[in-house]
């Protein structure tokens, strides 16, 4: 056999693609007989389940998820700001089921990494060869005195989309003109780094049209934040005198009844208060023993996303300890690398060096979008940004540039959610 010309070479490339690992299926193998359980059906887990099934259609892929309907955190600030309804955020799992993924709506009660079993609330115990956890985040209740789950019914966090989003949106709509909306932003690292500032922006947009005498105060222990220059430029342009950011001012205590917020320096009186608590890996990660107690997050091998603490358990998404921002896109990108690694291992094939990406849009007004992109490479076991790549939208861009980014934000959302649920 010789390679005569470009056409032959391309044909070779074409046939090679059929046997490539990744999403190309192949004949019955150890992988086809394997059982993989994915726990958590969000931006990480839904993609992991779907790509596992695409890569190995005969394999038993089970997705365990607590809620029958998924509510997206990305774009939920549009609901808080009154620009979109909850329908816009809500998705079902029926299409995943139609693809042959076994979806179980239940709560995980225990994971035994040695026996490789998962026990669910209904009493069943399920076996796995590989288990993918995409547990998201939980809150560090108690970091702020007076803030607990009961207080969150008065001062919503709205940092897990669902009833909390509805509650915060309603409080903002019911607030009197001339009122004060306080956002207490969390410490790094947390889910959706630009989220609190996008929320302030979209609520300011609502106030400007409906309650023009109202103000927004952001109380923040941090002294800098994601896309800061772009947000501040946008605020100056659209919301001068409406949004004030207090950096380096830690919230120590809240009083839900009076809606008072106490920092070290001062007491603030709010009409609507949004407390976004500090975060750590979701509860399931703690059950599985994959959390580093000193950090609260899950250390993983970035070539595979296998836990560094438990074999055959993989952790993706917000719960991982990683230099990637805790975003939906990061979870999506991590899920695919994780699936490739699981399939390669089951097939006894070599791994391909991973590249991971993040793309994240934020809205300052419905027509003013900004973005950040990151491309990570794996070097000596560490994820690092490819030098010279990525970064945020340019400062001082034209209104047309900002408008295009707001349009792309919506097409991004359509595509990433269709990839998960459509």
């Amino acid at each position: 056999m010789t390679i005569a010309n470009r056409r032959d070479f391309l044909r070779l490339l074409g046939s090679a693609s059929l046997v490539a690992w990744g999403i190309a299926p192949r004949r019955a193998s150890a992988a086809a007989k394997a059982k993989v359980i994915v726990i958590g059906g969000g931006y990480g887990g839904a993609i992991a389940a779907r790509y596992l099934k695409m890569g190995e259609p005969e394999m038993e892929v089970t997705l365990i998820e607590r809620n029958k309907r998924y509510v997206s955190c990305p774009m939920s600030n549009e609901v808080v700001g009154g620009e979109a309804s909850m329908d816009f955020l809500t998705f079902g799992y029926d299409k995943l089921e139609r693809q042959g993924i076994k979806v179980i709506f239940d709560t995980v009660e225990a994971i035994d990494p040695q026996a490789r079993t998962v026990r669910i609330k209904s009493g069943k115990t399920l076996n796995y060869d590989s288990c993918v956890l995409s547990p998201g985040v939980d809150f560090e209740w108690g970091d702020i005195e007076g803030y607990d789950e009961a207080a969150a019914q008065i001062m919503p966090h709205a940092w897990k989309a669902g009833p909390q989003t509805v509650l915060l949106a309603k409080q903002i709509q019911d607030m009197k003109d001339g009122g004060t909306f306080i956002i207490c932003a969390p410490d790094d690292p947390f889910r959706c780094p630009p989220g609190p500032y996008e929320r302030a922006s979209l609520v300011a947009h609502y106030f400007k049209r409906h309650k023009p005498k109202s103000k927004i105060i952001i109380l923040d222990n941090k002294t800098k934040f994601s896309k800061e220059g772009l947000f501040k430029q946008g605020w100056k342009q659209h919301y001068e005198g409406i949004i004030t950011w207090h950096g380096g001012d830690a919230v120590k205590r809240v009083e839900p009844k009076t809606r008072k917020v106490f920092t070290e320096a001062q007491t603030y009186q709010g009409d609507v208060v949004n407390v976004i608590p500090n975060q750590l890996a979701g509860k399931i990660a703690h059950l599985a023993g994959v959390v580093d107690k000193s950090t609260g997050w899950c250390p993983v091998d970035f070539a595979t996303f296998e836990s560094r603490l438990q074999k055959n358990i993989y952790v993706i998404g917000d719960a991982t300890e990683s230099p990637m921002p805790k975003s939906g896109y990061s979870a999506n990108s991590q899920a695919k690398i994780c699936v490739s690694a699981i399939l390669a291992r089951l097939r006894n094939e070599p791994l391909t060096e991973p590249a991971l990406t993040n793309t994240c849009y934020s809205l300052i007004t419905p027509d003013h979008g900004i973005s950040v992109a990151h491309i990570f490479e794996l070097k000596n076991g560490k994820l690092s940004l490819v030098p010279g790549s990525g970064g945020v939208s340019p400062m001082d861009a034209t209104p047309e540039f900002r408008r295009l980014e707001s349009i792309y934000a919506h097409s991004w959302y359509k595509n990433i959610t269709t990839e998960m649920f459509g």
């Binding site: 010789t2 070779l12 090679a16 999403i23 999506n332 992109a373 097409s411």
Partner: protein, 192 residues
Amino acid sequence: MTHSMVKSLLLAVSLTLSATASADLGSMLGNTCAGCHGLNGASAGETMPIISGLPRDFIFMAMKEYREGTRGSTIMGRIAKGYNDQQIAAMADFFARQKRTPATQKFDLAALKRGEKLHIKRCEACHRDNGTSMALDMQPLAGQWAGYLNIYMGTCRDPKWKSRHPDAMTVICSDLDAEDVAALAQFYASQK
């Protein structure tokens, strides 16, 4: 076995290995694009271009132009800087191999007719066969999202759009008005 037979066998093996590696690399990298461009490049978002089934060399050149800053973009320039030539080639192979997936969208008949006239007059010389042709590695426009085409041609005719588009498109689009652009976008979107 003669020396030359051994040599060609070795060549075949090494090419097979590198082709497999390239396909692996291509699907791994291609998958990272899906969050914005849809599964295998079949975009479901009406302003994000469908990139499945585009000519390999077109994707390769477009990514290189984004990377060098000679093709205007909001975000693609920043993203393309994350990849070397080998990675871009592997991505281009991956998307070129995917089945082309025309978008399902609604049309306005009056705009379609206006678009068809403009197409014949101004665009057909390059975008042949009603924009279905991929001759000369031309990007096929047929079945593409009207929303994307509209934005693309709009930026070509915007003098404030700082980065340079491929020269021909800047010239061709410069005296189209917004209604012309929308009509052309509708026309190509309607073609299969």
